[in-house]
């Protein structure tokens, strides 16, 4: 534990050596790996102790082999591709609709207040509840899934964009106005960039909802994709494929979230956060 004052001590060796950097990286990697090694060990041990069949409780080794099979046959990759594409399009459509709507609503606040109850009501309807209706409209497949993802992405993006715009200091708008900006220029130069941190947070939340929705929708209304795979494998008594699929889903989401969504959010919010704090 570092004392309170030590944080402000002048740093003598500011440029840290390369090996120190390496060791810091390595130790954090170990810290991340050990729990999972432990998890697999517990999984293996419990399988031995419980003595259940592979149908009920597939062994780690079998799941690993199944991974190999699924990858070798190209199934895993192609289903992952299918799923991610659906998810990407769904999140894109949801965001693409939500941001202009949010800007428009922020522009006409009284109108926005009027719309809130309706928006609230639609937010309250679980996107998966729409699936039976979407199926009646479009049959199984791409459209149903994309629509349900877009639906569930739309609301957090809308809400967060609007709250982002709400947090823009009035002085920024006034400053633009005193510089001679008209309504639209204010929207373009102040509101739109000012709403960005909110939007990004919203997209990250919405993308998370969308990912869960993707898996659910694929189980109910698709003939391909990871959700379909884990569900169908169960029917075929190939539980190891279900587990392999679940792990893929978890890893995929962590990768997308940690490698793309979180850094983007952090970069935007931090960059604009400075601006906001200066209020």
């Amino acid at each position: 534990m570092v004392g309170l004052d030590t944080a402000t001590l002048p740093r003598v060796g500011a440029g840290r050596s390369r090996s120190a950097w390496f060791w810091a990286r390595a130790s954090s990697l170990v810290k991340l790996t050990v729990p999972f090694v432990f998890l697999v060990a517990v999984w293996q041990m419990s399988a031995l102790v419980l003595g259940l069949s592979n149908y009920l409780y597939p062994r780690p080794a079998l799941v690993l082999r199944t991974f190999g099979v699924l990858v070798a046959h190209g199934v895993l990759l192609s289903y992952t591709e299918t799923s991610m594409w659906r998810w990407f399009v769904g999140v894109g459509v949801g965001t693409g609709v939500a941001i202009p709507v949010a800007l428009a609503l922020s522009f006409y606040r009284p109108f926005a207040r009027m719309m809130f109850p309706l928006i609230n009501f639609f937010t309250a309807i679980v996107e998966l509840a729409w699936i039976p209706l979407f199926v009646l409209w479009f049959g199984y497949g791409f459209k149903v899934i994309v629509l349900s993802i877009a639906y569930v992405t739309f609301f957090p993006v809308l809400a967060n964009t609007m709250s982002g715009i709400g947090q823009i200091p009035k002085a920024s708008v006034q400053a633009a106005q005193t510089l001679g900006a008209n309504r639209w220029q204010v929207a373009l130069h102040v509101l739109l960039p000012g709403s960005l941190p909110g939007s990004v947070t919203g997209v990250r939340t919405g993308a998370g909802y969308g990912f869960r929705s993707l898996i659910g929708a694929e189980m109910i209304a698709a003939q391909s994709g990871l959700g379909y795979m884990i569900f169908e494998s169960r029917a075929n008594q190939l539980t190891q494929r279900t587990v392999a699929g679940m792990i893929t889903i978890g890893v995929l989401w962590l990768l997308v979230d940690r490698l793309y969504l979180r850094p983007i959010e952090k970069a935007t919010v931090e960059r604009w956060g400075l601006l906001r704090r200066a209020r």
């Binding site: 534990m1 570092v2 004392g3 309170l4 004052d5 030590t6 944080a7 402000t8 001590l9 002048p10 003598v12 060796g13 840290r16 050596s17 120190a20 810091a24």
Partner: protein, 278 residues
């Protein structure tokens, strides 16, 4: 302000002894040990008001945390009334710079926490809390939550909370750094009033020479990297007159000599550091 019975009946503060205390930490980068503080030795007699003054990063807050028992010293010992300190306890109350009031408790419950933890019943504790809230001049604020108060009021509440635990030594870590100048002046004067009435031993950390000159019986100026005692200044001006207009030049004189000492204490490279942190 009326003096409430149990407040005045409080026993006088304890004496504090700091012997050759050092604090080292391991730098994250190259894993080398850095001496941040010490060795430092201090004697504070019962009822004394001591200011620890120094440039940012001189380890004065670290020293305070060590005295509080929140940070174990690498070497050396701390003792209150000749009993060695082994960890945090209510005999050394701390007023933190950022108040550290518990946001989920009302002001009264915050102040009552010390007595409650000492085993008082809820009613007794609340009664004690109200007395101390009155002592710090906010008798009406008991039912409010900390976030509803201004910075100055929060700091008053924090002082009341610490005093209500009846510590032998009161440790204050730049408590008025976060409030505006005008409120700070009021709080300083009130603190001296409370100190005079409760005969409390106080160790007060500050980076402001004016503050040290206004408050202290004795000022210990610390040098930085590593933090050591550079010089000691007894302040002989009586406390009752320090806040008066007539004494302003004399307080300023004390402050000026303190400033000269701090200047020497401040190493070249950190003189450019404009901000400090607690």
């Amino acid at each position: 302000m009326p003096v409430v019975g149990s407040v005045a009946a409080k026993p006088a503060g304890g004496s504090l002894e700091v012997n050759d205390v050092c604090h080292e930490y391991v730098r994250a980068g190259d894993k080398t040990a850095v001496i941040a503080l010490g060795p430092v030795s201090l004697q504070v007699s019962a009822g004394e008001f001591l200011c620890l003054l120094g440039p940012s990063g001189c380890g004065k807050s670290t020293l305070l945390m060590i005295i509080a028992g929140l940070l174990p010293p690498t070497r050396g010992t701390v003792a209150v009334d000749a009993v060695p300190v082994t960890g945090p306890s209510r005999e050394r109350g701390v007023v933190f710079q950022d108040y550290a009031l518990l946001p989920w408790k009302t002001v009264r419950s915050n102040v009552a926490l010390g007595p409650r933890l000492a085993g008082a019943s809820r009613r007794e504790a609340n009664q004690i809390a109200d007395e101390y809230l009155e002592l710090v001049g906010m008798p009406q604020a008991g039912d409010r939550y900390p976030h509803e108060l201004s910075g100055g009021m929060r700091q008053r509440a924090a002082v009341a909370r610490t005093l209500a635990a009846k510590p032998k030594v009161l440790l204050m870590d730049e408590p008025f750094a976060a409030v505006d100048a005008q409120t700070r002046g009021v709080l300083q004067e009130e603190l001296v009033g409370i100190w005079a009435r409760t005969a409390q031993t106080v160790v007060f950390v500050t980076h402001s020479v004016e503050e040290a000159a206004l408050l202290a019986d004795r000022v210990v100026v610390m040098s930085s990297a590593p933090g050591r005692v550079q010089e000691e200044f007894p302040v002989t001006l009586p406390h009752q007159v320090r806040f008066s207009r007539e004494s302003a030049p004399r307080v300023a004189e004390v402050a000026a000599s303190l400033l000269a000492s701090v200047r020497v204490a401040q190493p070249r490279q950190s003189r450019q550091v404009a901000s400090w942190s607690g």
